[in-house]
Amino acid sequence: MTAAFEGIGASVRRKEDLRFISGRGHYTDDINRPGQLHAYIRRSDRPHAKIVSIDTTAAAAAPGVAAVFTGADLAGIGGLPCGWQIHNKDGSPMAEPKHPVLAEGKVRHVGDPIAVVIAETKQQAKDAAELLDIVLEDLPSIASVTAAAAPGAPRVHDDVAGNVCYDWHIGDKAAVDAAFARAAKVVSLDLTNNRLIPNAMEPRAAVGDFDPTTDDYTLYTTSQNPHVIRLLMGAFVLGLPEHKLRVVAPDVGGGFGSKIYHYAEEAIVTWAAGRLKRPVKWTAERTESFMSDAHGRDHVSTAEMALDAEGHFLALRVKTLCNMGGYLSTFAPAVPTYLYATLLAGVYKTPAIYAEVKAMFTNTVPVDAYRGAGRPEAAFLIERLVDTICHDTGHDRVDIRRKNFIPVDAFPYQTPVALQYDSGDYFTTLDAALKAADWAGFPARRAAAKANGKLRGIGISTYLEACGIAPSKVVGSLGARAGLYEVANVRVHPTGSVSVFTGTHSHGQGHETTFAQLVSDQLGVPLSQVDVVHGDTAKIPFGMGTYGSRSLAVGGSAMVKAMDKIIAKGKKIAAHLMEASADDIEFKDGKFSVAGTDKVKTLGEIALTAYVPHNYPIETLEPGLDETAFYDPMNFTFPGGCHVCEVEIDQDTGVTSVVNFVAVDDVGRVINPMIVEGQVQGGVAQGIGQALLESAVYDEAGQLLSGSFMDYTMPRADDLPNITVGTESTLCTHNPLGAKGCGEVGAIGSPPAVMNAVVDALKDLGVRHVDMPASPQKIWAIIHSNRPRMAAE
């Protein structure tokens, strides 16, 4: 019997699914430790206020309460660190005010934690928190970046003038100015990128545990990167050395960036467990998630393109204000700079680019990376600008893109904003998407819709992103305070089964299957004999975690390197057993053979020999078959592609329906097509959500108005279409797998495709641009404010 193909390229059903569909997933809130206490956090309901007094007497005396802690109790520990330092135009470092674990003296956003009550039960802790007598004195506050930048704006931090975290730039200003001076045409567009709340379905949770016999701490947490949390919390907040602190991120119910960062609650439960000598558990209620999980996006920009008479892009000038929120989250400063402005070339050969980015503090929840992180903001800006150019000049939307694409033979391609693209073919993804979406047949569909009283539009985006984060030397030179390599440990057991320990983390991506396929393919071991282990600093040598679509491109490459070492060692053992030279040993399909002979040893036989080394070259070779590799990438990877969206607008209700969506992406090597398709569909759903439904709404003072699922419009099943996914890949040239990454492409390429379709649908009304989200209210108002003019025409 031939076993079903389960290696690279097979849509193997996921190994992890059995536990998830049976209710046996093991998430942080499912963990209960003996003697466990429960924490409830009392948060600010004000955007900006001075803490006048906190009286904990009544709360501390309430039934079941073990302890009440405030900022004063935690004064001896460090603030939450920021992992990336940006420098201003003048070379000075960014403003980096302290981010206390519990508020010290002031609160700076709704949701800022003030005090924690720890009790025998969750209900007792919550009841007692109501008894805290907290006196706040309101201070003037601001929520938007434009308000923060206004002259005389209230200061979020007393020592940060003008609320400016940094004022940064990239590119050749003189070259751009010169190009604008000689341009035949300049097209300008003001646009915002709406603030989003990630809302992974599993709320954040953390359990701190302390073992008094060893003084060891364990933190169970909903994290995308347990080693990073161990480093940040251990070294910068609590002063715990790595060998005394274990961080476990078990099954994690979605992250999308929001679970990268080190959060206050992780430090609180770990510290309190040590203080109280009992485990302490905290689980966010969804309302807390809305006001304490890092938000995403929130840019206000002006983009200008200089063109020649034929529609060639000569230069791009961008000015962006971005929102950091009340404090700096872990990677916040990197998002609107090196993950955004460096992407402004997109897929185009624009010869000169200059971008200025000013990051502002406001009285809102900290903003950090959310699926795509900076790259969706760049793609949205470029692709909306390209369509606006067509609107203003009459160029065809497809032709102008083709005219300005980086040619296929121009790779490696150096952009004017630092990045060097290794590979890509934007023409092929464009053609495939246009075909799949029947772009040519659209006029007939538009006419049919019009006959039914509907406004139909079609939109395109040809986007690019950078992921596979990242070469440590490069990011270090740009301000990162960490390396961004990845680690894999491949352990071949004595009887030939394999455990793979990866520093990446799976919170929905299906690593237990994809990585097992990779190992099965390379080592010739059946999939059922490979287990992938992640999410525990006590088991895995090291790792930087999962974000920036890096797991396969960087983590998978580390695995390949570790397997190369396994095979190299296996060849030496095989050579000894078969009395041949190691140079003559070939390895294929799990078998070591002597070239040109029928002598063969299986990987299992070699493994057994390695662990039972009775007949073994012990003088020159250690026993065992267990190898670790650290892989630091040579470059970023550059997925890209083309998304086409078709919408229909109901004029009476303003509701925009996505009637067709096609994504054709270049994600490099694909291990499991089924999983890649699912990743793209999920990303597109979030992108459609951003474009049509979602927005974190603050009032002017900073009160969060969209603070629950009742108020924040999450995409539901009947808001979304079927999503057609295709891949047209070129291989990454610098990692051993040729993999580029697929986790974020959906969320990056889709918002501009949707909004270009919406604007196209409204073009007869003279509409030039619509900001996201294209909510029914907004679209209805646009249609109806234009009605009199339509009637007059």
Binding site: D17, L18, D30, A200
Partner: protein, 164 residues
């Protein structure tokens, strides 16, 4: 404190609870059935859906005392004693209808009720509308809709379950 006696996944349980205890808290915290999840505090997300006397219920909208005398089925109780999965579980796996798995238990329980209550057939639009009470942030619902459509004929005896 009130005593609640109910049947959960075919087994009788009698538990003392605070009057304000929610059914989902009873299941997760008193009975250790952590397959039923809590994803929100406004009864919007559907991660906690279980069956109470055969009908899907958001276990965060029901007090434990209201379930006194009821028969409750959770995700842990769907598979047969020999481990054979329910067709809906099988179809979720077959069609890659889950990623992080957090919404999955509630999604599966809702989907089963949806299919059972539509013996006449289910259109894609009906499936999408029927899932309004369940949020998924990972999949974009595309494959969930496919899985439910594939489970309908199996659950209604129109095609045999996939041969082992």
């Amino acid at each position: 404190m009130p005593q609640v006696t109910l049947t959960v996944n075919g087994k009788s349980a009698s538990v003392e609870v605070e009057a304000r205890t929610l059914l989902v808290e009873l299941l997760r915290e008193k009975l250790g059935l952590t397959g039923t999840h809590v994803g929100c505090d406004t009864s919007q997300c559907g991660a906690c859906v279980v069956h109470v006397d055969g009908t899907s219920v958001k276990a965060c909208t029901m007090l434990a005392v209201q379930a006194d005398g009821a028969s409750v089925t959770t995700i842990e109780g769907l598979a047969k004693a020999d481990g054979t999965l329910h067709p809906m579980q099988e179809m979720f796996r077959e069609h890659h209808a889950l990623q992080c798995g957090f919404c999955t238990p509630g999604m599966v329980m809702s989907a089963i009720d949806l299919v059972q209550s539509h013996p006449e057939g289910l259109t894609e639009a009906q499936i999408r509308h029927g899932l309004e009470g369940n949020l998924c942030r990972c999949t974009g619902y595309h494959n969930i809709v496919k899985a439910i459509a594939a489970a309908w004929p199996i659950m209604h005896g129109k095609v045999p379950a996939a041969a082992e």
